[in-house]
C-alpha cells in the first residue's frame, strides 16, 4: 500500500501536488497540502510519482507500508 508523505519543513506551498492529485491532496487556507494518510488507489500511483518527482522542493515521498499505521 502506498501512501503520500509530505515533509512540512521542505514544503513551500507551490501547490503543484494538489493540482495534479486533487483526489488525494487538498490545500488548507494558507495553501499548504493536507494529505489524509490513507493508502492511494492504484490508478493514482503514477500521478503521485509524477507529483513527487516534480515538486520544486522535493517535499513529497511515497511510502510503501504494509497494513495500517
Amino acid at each position: 500500500m502506498i501512501r503520500i508523505l509530505i515533509d512540512p519543513a521542505a514544503c513551500d506551498a507551490y501547490g503543484y501536488c494538489a493540482e495534479l492529485l486533487p483526489e488525494a491532496i487538498t490545500l488548507d487556507e494558507w495553501g499548504y497540502p493536507v494529505v489524509d494518510g490513507k493508502p492511494l488507489p492504484p490508478e493514482l500511483v503514477d500521478t503521485a510519482r509524477r507529483a513527487a518527482r516534480d515538486c520544486p522542493r522535493r517535499a513529497i515521498t511515497l511510502r510503501e507500508r504494509k497494513g495500517g499505521r
Binding site: Y14, G15, Y16, T26, L27, E29, G31, P56, R58
Partner: protein, 207 residues
C-alpha cells in the same frame, strides 16, 4: 539542399528559437510559489515552460546544424561552442556560441535536477537570465534580417515581454518580503520562506 535553402533555414529557425526562448523565459520568470492563491494552474505553467523550452532546443539545433552545413560561409562545428573561433562573423557568431553554451548548461542541469542540491540547481538555472540577452544580442548583431521592420518589432516585443515579466516578479518579491516582515513583527517568528498577505489568499481553495 542548396546553400540558399540552408541559409533560410538558419535564419528562420534562429528567429523561431528566439521567440520560443522568450516565451520560456516569461513562463519561468512568472512562476510563483503562491500560484494556488490566485487559482492559477502553477503546475501546468511549469509544464508549459519545460515543453516550450524543449521545442526551442529543437529549433536551436536546426539553427546550429544548418549554419554549419551551409558551405557558403565557413562556420566549423567547434566554432558553435567555442566562442570567437569562427572565420565567418567571428564576433557575433562567437556571441551566439556563448549563448549556446549557457543554454546547454541550463538544459543539462534541468535534466539532472533530481540529482543535485536545490541550491546548486537554482544557481545554474539562473544562467538563463544571462543566456537570453546574449542570444538576443546575437540575433541583432548578426545583422542578416535585423534591419527588417518586422524583425525589429519582434525584437521589441520580446524585450518588452521579458521586461514586463521581470517587473512583475520584482514586485512579487518585494510584496512577499514586506508581508514576511509584517508577520515576523507581529508574531516574533521569522518565516524561512516568503509570505503572502492575507488579502491575496482570498482566492485560495479550502481543504
Amino acid at each position: 539542399m542548396s546553400s540558399t535553402d540552408l541559409w533560410y533555414a538558419t535564419r528562420a529557425s534562429g528567429l523561431m528559437a528566439l521567440i520560443l526562448l522568450t516565451l520560456t523565459m516569461v513562463l519561468g520568470i512568472t512562476t510563483s510559489t503562491r500560484a494556488r492563491a490566485r487559482n492559477w494552474p502553477g503546475f501546468a505553467q511549469q509544464e508549459m515552460h519545460r515543453r516550450i523550452s524543449m521545442i526551442a532546443v529543437v529549433f536551436l539545433g536546426i539553427h546550429v546544424v544548418t549554419s554549419v552545413l551551409d558551405t557558403f560561409v565557413n562556420i566549423s562545428w567547434a566554432a558553435v561552442v567555442i566562442p570567437f573561433t569562427s572565420s565567418y562573423g567571428t564576433f557575433w557568431v562567437g556571441v551566439g556560441a556563448i549563448a549556446l553554451d549557457l543554454m546547454i548548461a541550463v538544459f543539462v542541469t534541468s535534466l539532472l535536477r533530481a540529482r543535485m542540491r536545490p541550491g546548486t540547481w537554482r544557481a545554474l538555472h539562473w544562467l538563463a537570465y544571462l543566456s537570453w540577452p546574449v542570444a538576443l544580442a546575437h540575433t541583432f548583431g548578426m545583422g542578416t534580417d535585423s534591419r527588417e521592420s518586422w524583425v525589429i518589432v519582434l525584437g521589441i516585443v520580446c524585450v518588452a515581454s521579458v521586461a514586463a515579466a521581470l517587473a512583475w516578479r520584482l514586485r512579487e518579491v518585494s510584496r512577499q518580503a514586506s508581508a514576511r516582515t509584517a508577520h515576523a513583527s507581529v508574531t516574533g517568528v521569522p518565516p524561512k520562506h516568503l509570505v503572502l498577505s492575507a488579502r491575496s489568499r482570498a482566492g485560495s481553495r479550502r481543504a
